[in-house]
């Protein structure tokens, strides 16, 4: 086949909603875009362990502690599924680590906010994981097979994350005045950053059209954001908490909630590295990688030694 017919074959698969697998021919841009997106997603899972890991030793009781441990462990797992999917496109794990540490590859800017109270474990599970699920569920049907399969696995596990977060909020919201205040304060701080998780408005998102064509994005940023607001408003009402947005109101004509505009300057500023925790998050990741170097080397040395012993015995 010529490159031209390879391209036609690929386009035909896109039109017919068929999956692309690792060994199939694919255009360079498709491969590059996928590597960028999957790596960024994997990094977000791994960096996302930090704001919650922060509270494991201070969870209010053993039940909460066990749950939080399980959740953070899940996130490590999700990062690993995604790194493997990216590796099937021809980038090595070490390259991805290097590019995370150098800042060439990004992670979700939501993890550059601090988790300053226990209520944040509730708000992060409810809102941040809720927004992530909304982004991720459509990706279970994305065009690249290994990515889609990783997403199916992740979405199955993510649901517990959101529910445990909501349960924390529910407990606090029904607790003492002080606890209710904590929950409200946490919602206030996480609401706008959660809306930003869907990315800039469609008008400022130049790659959307191509990504939709490739089925590595299935709904636009604004569509998903609207869907998130529509379901979350009701969830806040059940908690008896208030979303601080004076423009938030039901629109009979559209059948959706109208809502205000997030501070996109803040968003772009964090993207540039100037968020409250950007430096801390990357420093922690780099330190973990550097201090783990001897472990990676020792494991290889041990496996080499055992293999050599075995060969000697056999000889």
């Amino acid at each position: 086949m010529t490159v031209h017919s390879f391209q036609e074959h690929f386009d035909e698969k896109m039109d017919k909603d068929q999956a692309i697998e690792a060994k199939d021919w694919m255009p360079d841009d498709y491969r590059k875009t996928l590597i960028r997106q999957i790596a960024q997603h994997a990094h977000s899972e791994i960096v996302g362990m930090l704001p919650e890991g922060n509270w494991i030793t201070r969870a209010p009781n053993l039940r909460r502690k066990a749950i939080l441990l399980a959740k953070v462990q899940d996130e490590a797992g999700h990062g690993l599924y995604l790194y493997s999917a990216a590796e099937s496109l021809g980038i090595s794990r070490d390259d991805m680590m290097e590019q995370l540490h150098s800042g060439k590859q990004k992670y979700s800017s939501i993890f550059n906010y601090p988790t300053i109270s226990w209520a944040d474990m509730g708000a992060v599970g409810w809102l941040v994981d809720g927004a992530a699920i909304m982004n991720q569920v459509p990706l279970c049907r994305t065009s690249y097979g290994p990515y889609a399969r990783a997403m199916v696995r992740i979405c199955k596990e993510e649901s517990f994350h959101q529910r445990q977060g909501y349960e924390i909020m529910l407990t606090l919201a029904n607790g003492t005045e002080m606890q209710k205040k904590m929950a409200q304060d946490s919602l206030n701080r996480w609401w706008w950053p959660s809306l930003m998780m869907f990315g800039p408005p469609d008008a400022d998102s130049p790659h959307t059209e191509q990504s939709m064509r490739w089925r590595i994005k299935r709904f636009t940023n604004d569509e998903l954001r609207q869907r998130f607001v529509d379901v979350t408003v009701e969830q806040a009402r059940i908690l008896g908490l208030t979303i601080l947005d004076k423009d938030l109101k039901w629109n009979e004509a559209t059948g959706h909630y109208d809502f205000g505009t997030p501070d996109w300057n803040e968003f772009y500023n964090i993207l540039k590295g100037n968020g409250p925790c950007n430096k801390e998050r990357l420093d922690v990741r780099r330190k973990a990688w550097e201090e783990g170097q001897w472990v990676r080397e020792a494991a290889l040395a041990y496996s080499d030694k055992r293999r050599q012993r075995k060969e000697k015995k056999a000889a």
């Binding site: 462990q73 797992g77 990676r296 041990y302 055992r306 293999r307």
Partner: protein
């Protein structure tokens, strides 16, 4: 191998296959990195069976998997297309016929 090259060596990649319950076959679950087979099984347990997804794990170093070329799909699978008589639904039999 020099010290420098050694520190740049990645743990090899392994493919993980999991039997979800007795009586079923092992199914590909995903892949992971590990220094050797023992570690690959331990890691597979942590990464792929956190929710009782399996009772048995196989790991194979990815470099030992030999795969057919997607470009050969036509040559390999086309011949099966015109042999629909291999399927039971090919045969037109009377409706009153039972136990068949």
């Amino acid at each position: 191998m020099s010290q420098k090259a050694d520190s740049k060596r990645e743990w090899p990649l392994w493919e993980v296959f999991i039997r979800s319950k007795a009586g079923l076959d092992h199914k590909h679950a995903g892949s992971l990195h590990a220094a050797d087979a023992d570690m690959a099984i331990e890691n597979a347990r942590d990464v792929y069976t956190r929710r009782m997804e399996g009772i048995s794990i196989w790991v194979v170093e990815s470099k030992y998997i030999h795969a057919s070329d997607p470009g050969d799909a036509e040559i390999l699978y086309e011949p099966a297309n015109d042999k629909i008589y291999r399927h039971p639904t090919f045969y037109n039999l009377p409706d009153e016929l039972t136990h068949m």
